[in-house]
């Protein structure tokens, strides 16, 4: 780790002028996101919806990695939210927005229960333990046809209810409309995740990651904080699952399998997990590569191969992810501008 990965305190608010620049940037970003779907074809709009959902999935995953533990069960946890929300709506007639929320809570509760065995493990053991726990949950979906639908999963899951108030009518079957719905929910979730990281809770997560014994010695209950990170991350993964289930309309055990987890890992690692925006950058860049380049060139079957190669190359040559390219590039440009004599200490 060449650079300090975090600086939670210093860059909080900045000067008033800096704040205005940031607000302008966000306004611009949202303007682009608002116009974007109208520039896309129908099938691209569908992909945009899934991309927005995946942004939440990978960002929630990053929160878990802040404490230093890498899980292989995160996609299954997303599935818990998806299955729970779908079953609540289908079987019990719970209105869809509420079923999603409850689905998120079920995912969080699953994580809370799993944390007792899992956080007795660390590092590699945690990785394998989370993998085993996830596979067990997945096999339960596969084995118990009632209520989980077995290998074929659940079909005809209730869609998000349409809004019809006379003058305003929104049909969420339309990808554009679901895109905006997902965008709003995901933006709120990201804001909450960001606030958590920037608060003392986030500082404590980082502290546990780098020196859990030292953190423990000054009163941090590392088990409780690891559990907290796991529970929050799982809640938002569950919300992502609910968004997915009620959009696509079907869920099945294969959809939440290890290969899907590999994609989340690829997004996070290629993007870089040191910053909040790293994994988001990763999922966007790789989805664009995937959809435009691979599908466009008809290389769809080569997708896992290319993902695998990207994963290997980024572990070998870009261990801090795409996010580190920006600062590196900026530093390199500045060095060129100032000449080689005054290198060092700039950028960040």
């Amino acid at each position: 780790m060449p650079e300090p990965a975090v600086a939670p305190s210093g860059s909080r608010a900045g000067s008033p002028a800096g704040r205005i620049v940031w607000r302008l940037r966000f306004a611009l970003l949202f303007a682009v996101l608002a116009v974007l779907p109208y520039l896309l074809s129908y099938s691209q709009q569908e992909i945009a919806v899934l991309l927005v959902i995946n942004v939440l999935l990978v960002s929630s995953y990053r929160l878990l990695t802040l404490t230093g533990e890498w899980s292989l069960g995160h996609v299954v946890i997303m599935g818990v939210g998806a299955y729970a929300s779908a079953l609540l709506a289908k079987r019990l007639g719970v209105p869809v927005p509420f079923s999603m929320l409850i689905g998120g809570c079920m995912a969080a509760a699953t994580a809370a229960i799993l944390s007792f065995p899992l956080f007795r493990m660390k590092g590699f053991y945690f990785l394998i333990g989370s993998f085993a726990a996830g596979e067990i949950i997945r096999l339960i979906w596969k084995r118990f046809t009632d209520p989980f639908g077995g290998p074929k999963g659940l079909k005809r899951i209730d869609a998000f209810p349409n809004i019809d108030t006379g003058f305003l009518s929104i049909d969420f079957y339309e990808p554009v409309n679901y895109y905006f719905l997902a965008l709003i929910i995901v933006s709120i979730s990201l804001f909450i995740l960001y606030r958590i990281e920037r608060s003392r809770i986030g500082l404590t997560f980082h502290a546990i990651h780098w020196q859990d014994r030292l953190a423990e010695s000054i009163g941090v209950d590392t088990f409780r904080y690891r559990t907290l990170a796991f529970v929050i991350a799982s809640f938002f993964a569950g919300i992502a699952g609910g968004l997915y289930a009620h959009y696509v309309g079907t869920v099945n055990p294969t959809r939440f399998g290890v290969d899907q987890m590999v994609y989340v890992l690829v997004w996070a690692i290629v993007g870089g997990t040191a910053t909040f925006h790293g994994p988001i950058l990763g999922v966007i860049v790789l989805t664009v590569i995937n959809e435009i380049v691979l599908r466009g060139l008809g290389l769809d079957t080569a997708r896992p191969l290319i993902y695998g190669a990207i994963l290997i190359l980024s572990v070998l040559y870009l261990p801090d992810g795409l996010e580190s390219l920006g600062p590196k590039l900026r530093a390199w440009l500045q060095r060129r501008r100032r000449g080689p004599a005054t290198a060092g200490g700039e950028a960040a």
Partner: protein, 274 residues
């Protein structure tokens, strides 16, 4: 074993070990070891290499549970409790060398140290209504830095700090947790005489501020000059306990150190005794 009625007896030791034993497989690292630390004292724990000092220290600070025996803090049995729970009760330890949050700024290290002092609910963290308690945490973190003369370096990344400063910062992080008993793990190891002198003055000031100090140390010179009372361990058990002058001239201590003749502690000890 507790004081009758749960009331601490006045003048009772603040920290006490009774018949402490810790085994690792067949190896007995600490063997039926007892000692008592008086409130407001600077208490040294020394012994030749492999005497079981570090294990004792790790048992007291909750890293290992004792195989048998008890650790008492203000008369309460605390053996086997988690380190974080002990910190909450006021028993805070430091680490050898530069165990710090190397990736953080100097100030953030001490801010983490304020963990117990800056409590706030989850929602207020989210909504930013913890600003008041965080501002206080910030202020007291800066105070702790000032105490160690590090306030100028608050925004530096820790990895830029020279070794001596990192040691000071380690103390500052522990002190930010507002301990009643501070356990120092080899605070002088690797320091030059000037740094050692400054560190000794700081430890005295910490004690004068009302914190009981217990330290494990190799550097005999520093221990002799600093501590009010010294416990000497050998082969996992108590050898001698007493004031520095008594310990210095005790034949058993001299023999233990000469017999093992390892490390700078032994050298200094022997020199002292001669």
């Amino acid at each position: 074993m507790n004081a009758p009625g749960g009331q601490p007896i006045p003048d009772a030791p603040i920290l006490e070990a009774r018949g402490l034993t810790r085994r690792f497989g067949g190896l007995v690292a600490v063997d039926d070891f007892s000692f008592a630390v008086r409130e407001g004292a600077i208490h040294g724990l020394i012994g030749p290499n492999g005497a079981g000092k570090t294990t004792t220290f790790n048992v007291i600070s909750g890293f290992y549970a004792p195989t048998s025996g008890q650790v008492l803090y203000r008369g309460r049995d605390i053996s086997g409790r988690k380190t974080s729970a002990l910190a909450e009760m006021g028993l805070v330890r430091t680490f050898q060398g530069s165990t710090l949050f190397q990736e953080f700024s100097v100030l953030d290290n001490v801010r983490v140290g304020r963990h117990l002092g800056a409590r706030a609910g989850f929602l207020s963290r989210l909504l930013g209504t913890d600003r008041g308690s965080e501002a206080q945490a910030d202020a007291s973190a800066r105070e702790a830095l000032a105490f160690f003369g590090l306030e100028e370096l608050a925004d530096e990344p820790v990895s830029n700090l020279p070794h001596g400063h990192q040691r000071m910062l380690g103390m500052a992080v522990a002190l930010a947790a507002e301990p009643e008993v501070l356990l120092l793990d080899e605070p002088f190891t690797g320091m030059n005489p000037e740094e050692t002198r400054r560190m000794m003055a700081l430890v005295r000031r910490i004690r004068d501020g009302g914190v009981t100090v217990m330290l494990v140390e190799h550097d005999m010179q520093a221990v002799m000059n600093l501590c009010d009372i010294i416990t000497v361990m050998n082969f996992g058990a108590l050898l001698v306990e007493g004031a520095p002058d008594e310990v210095r001239n005790d034949p058993a201590v001299i023999e233990a150190y000469l017999g093992s003749a390892t490390g700078n502690g032994a050298g200094n000890g022997a020199g002292d005794a001669a």
